[in-house]
């Protein structure tokens, strides 16, 4: 029982990180109907921004966290302007968007390897707020890492705010309308370009936060974007384009992974996770909460 509870906590702590990353994939997909594979590289950049703001600029952790989120939001928007907008203007097929995204991802990853180097880095504990410096919290046999608690709180707050924003504000309604039908909402006076920039900025900002949190939980290294692929799978699992779906998919995928590797063996983990994913897509091609089965990339 102790072990079960501990594995449940382990799974949830991975799930919320997946969720923060998956939301970025889902938001862009809901508007532009393509999977932005450069998202993982933006997450990686966020981790580096946070790391260098903390260690080189010497700013407090909260400021470094904010800098990372702002920097990646900017980069995501620049990426949209430079890489995707020219394609949109020419009405290029969706496949071109995906290839461009992959190219951008490879470009960003290798730029970091070439300039900063491949050696992993860790956030120095002494520069983090005092909350992170103590021993892990214990309740009986159950242990929870301090970083995990922080990740949970930050992720829950961000995701709650995002849902409130999407459901209850005018801008949020604009995003929803554009996701539903870009042409019709443009006719109603919603500027699609503005909505797209907004979506990339929100996704980018969340990416920066996810990157810093991921870097604190594990390490900061250039190949991080490969791991964020899991969060893309979670987004598909939950239903691409749906925010609650991304959340649910992330937590479910993380729990499946953790329980398979905890009770069976690590070798079976991905095997099981993907069998469930494929089974899910066969039965319900739009994912758990997705609405649209077309164009699933």
């Amino acid at each position: 029982m102790d072990q079960f509870l501990q594995q449940l906590v382990n799974g949830l702590s991975i799930g919320v990180i997946y969720a923060l990353m998956a939301v970025g994939y889902s938001l862009v997909y809901s508007i532009m109907n393509f999977s932005n594979f450069a998202h993982g590289s933006v997450i990686m950049l966020g981790a580096y921004f946070g790391f260098y703001a903390l260690t080189k600029l010497g700013v407090p952790f909260y400021v470094a966290f904010f800098i990372a989120a702002m920097a990646t939001a900017t980069i995501a928007v620049i990426l949209e302007r430079l890489a995707y907008k020219p394609l949109r203007d020419r009405r290029a097929p969706f496949l071109y968007f995906i290839i461009t995204a992959m190219g951008a991802s490879i470009f960003i990853d290798n730029s970091v390897i070439a300039t900063i180097g491949p050696t992993p880095k860790t956030f120095p504990t002494e520069l983090l707020p005092t909350f992170f410096q103590g021993d892990p919290l214990e309740w009986g046999a159950l242990t929870v890492g301090r970083v995990d608690i922080a990740i949970f709180l930050v992720a829950a707050t961000c995701l709650a705010l995002l849902m409130i924003f999407i459901d209850f504000t005018k801008l949020g309604k604009a995003i929803q309308a554009t996701a539903y039908n870009m042409k019709a909402s443009a006719l109603m006076g919603i500027n699609p370009n503005f909505v797209i920039i907004l979506v990339f900025a929100i996704g980018g900002g969340l990416a920066g936060m996810a990157g810093v949190l991921y870097g604190m939980k594990y390490q900061v290294f250039p190949q991080m974007s490969a791991i964020t692929l899991k969060s893309f799978i979670a987004a598909v699992f939950g239903g691409l384009g749906s925010l609650p779906g991304a959340l649910l998919g992330s937590v479910l995928l993380a729990l499946i992974e953790t329980f398979v590797s905890g009770y069976l063996s690590t070798q079976y983990r991905d095997l099981f996770a993907f069998i469930i994913l494929i089974g899910m897509l066969v039965v319900r091609p739009s994912g758990i909460m997705g609405k649209d089965a077309e164009d699933k990339a």
Partner: protein
């Protein structure tokens, strides 16, 4: 793929027309996960070649030869290692090769050097299959400067059981790496032979970053020592996550641990933990090279620097004793190698492995790696 020639060597070649040069190949990972160690090896062999050439070269059979290092990046990949070895042999016509730091690269390369009859001296490839094939035959042209995994596993098991009095061990290994699975197996055999019990054997796949699920399994088995035969980066991650799960057990490791980055990555989570090493970094034998390396590159020499130093020294020594730079003559001389290296006494045995080479137990104390105890082979 990048080809590197020693700068000094070219200068030296221009200097004297009558001095001949001898080409020695090196390959290892200059990029990828173990780039840190590959780069350290390359820096070392280049430094050594410069030192040899500064004295006018090495004297073999009364003649002076300049040492030319031909280096290729194998990216820590077995396919790439095979490609660069073929290139070193057929295109660059090297007389001997050093490097091949990972067993995963050294094993596929062995049949190629055997067929081409070019001696290969591995720096840190510790898996037994590097020199001895599955059917018991010896790879005639493959040698190594390091001790092997069965020996290393035995030392770790002996130390844990006999010296520290640990009875219940858990093993945490990389399932897709022959170094890790091999070392686990040898540790387990020795530990059980000594009367200990292995209570949990769990694994992860290389490239993973979250070990909490398998570590929770270890925690439930309640061992009194955890053996982690992995490389430094994974060790740092595993140690941190183990401590976060409230596992306070002593962690024990092998020669994948020592690295300048280990402690900065792991923080306090490895305090008091122990690993088996090929030498004492702070010892007198290592000092001249440690100082020279530090002065030249402004970095600390890695374990691989010392290992590849001894590998190249073995080749040079073999040439001098054979009075020849012919690959077959070098091979013959290597079989009778009896050399005092930085990492200990290297006497090549019938399996082409050093016999009776000491292993060193190192303890992590604060930011330092402190030498604890020395072990010689016991059978």
């Amino acid at each position: 793929m990048r080809k590197l020639l020693c700068g000094t060597l070219m200068a030296a070649a221009a200097l004297s027309l009558n001095a001949q040069s001898v080409k020695i190949g090196w390959f290892g990972p200059e990029t990828g996960d173990s780039a840190l160690w590959g780069q350290a090896e390359l820096a070392t062999v280049q430094m050594m070649a410069e030192d040899y050439n500064a004295k006018g070269g090495i004297t073999v059979g009364g003649k002076k030869y300049k040492v030319e290092i031909v280096a290729y990046d194998d990216k820590g990949d077995s396919v790439e290692a095979v490609n660069v070895t073929k290139r070193l042999i057929s295109q660059d016509k090297v007389v001997a090769i050093v490097g091949a730091q990972g067993s995963g690269e050294a094993i596929p390369v062995a049949p190629i050097v055997n067929e081409a009859k070019i001696p290969l001296v591995c720096s840190t490839a510790t898996n037994p299959k590097v020199t001895v094939n599955d059917n018991g035959s010896i790879n005639a042209f493959v040698f190594r400067a390091c001790f092997t995994d069965p020996y290393q596993g035995k030392v770790a098991a002996y130390f844990a059981n006999q010296k520290l009095g640990k009875k219940k061990a858990a093993i945490f290994m990389t399932i897709d790496d022959p170094y890790s699975t091999g070392l686990s197996q040898f540790f387990k055999e020795s530990f059980e032979k000594l009367g200990g019990k292995v209570v949990a054997e769990v694994s992860y796949t290389s490239g993973e970053k979250d070990f909490r699920a398998p570590l929770t399994k270890i925690k439930a088995a309640n061992p009194d020592v955890i053996f982690i035969p992995a490389y430094y980066n994974d060790v740092a991650l595993a140690a941190k996550q183990a401590r976060e799960l409230g596992i306070k057990t002593l962690l024990l490791g092998g020669d994948g641990w020592p690295s300048d980055n280990l402690i900065s990555l792991a923080g306090k989570s490895l305090e008091g933990c122990l690993f088996v090493n090929h030498l004492d970094f702070d010892g007198a034998a290592a000092k001249p090279m440690r100082d020279e390396y530090k002065k030249k590159y402004n970095k600390n020499a890695e374990l691989n620097s010392y290992m590849v130093h001894d590998a190249l020294a073995m080749v040079v020594d073999a040439m001098q004793r054979a009075k020849s730079v012919e690959p077959v003559a070098i091979q013959k001389a290597l079989t009778t190698c009896d050399l005092q290296g930085i990492t200990g006494h290297i006497k090549i045995g019938p399996n082409h492995d050093p016999v009776g080479k000491e292993a060193w137990l190192i303890k992590i104390v604060g930011p330092d790696m402190k030498f604890q105890e020395k072990f010689a082979a016991k059978d």
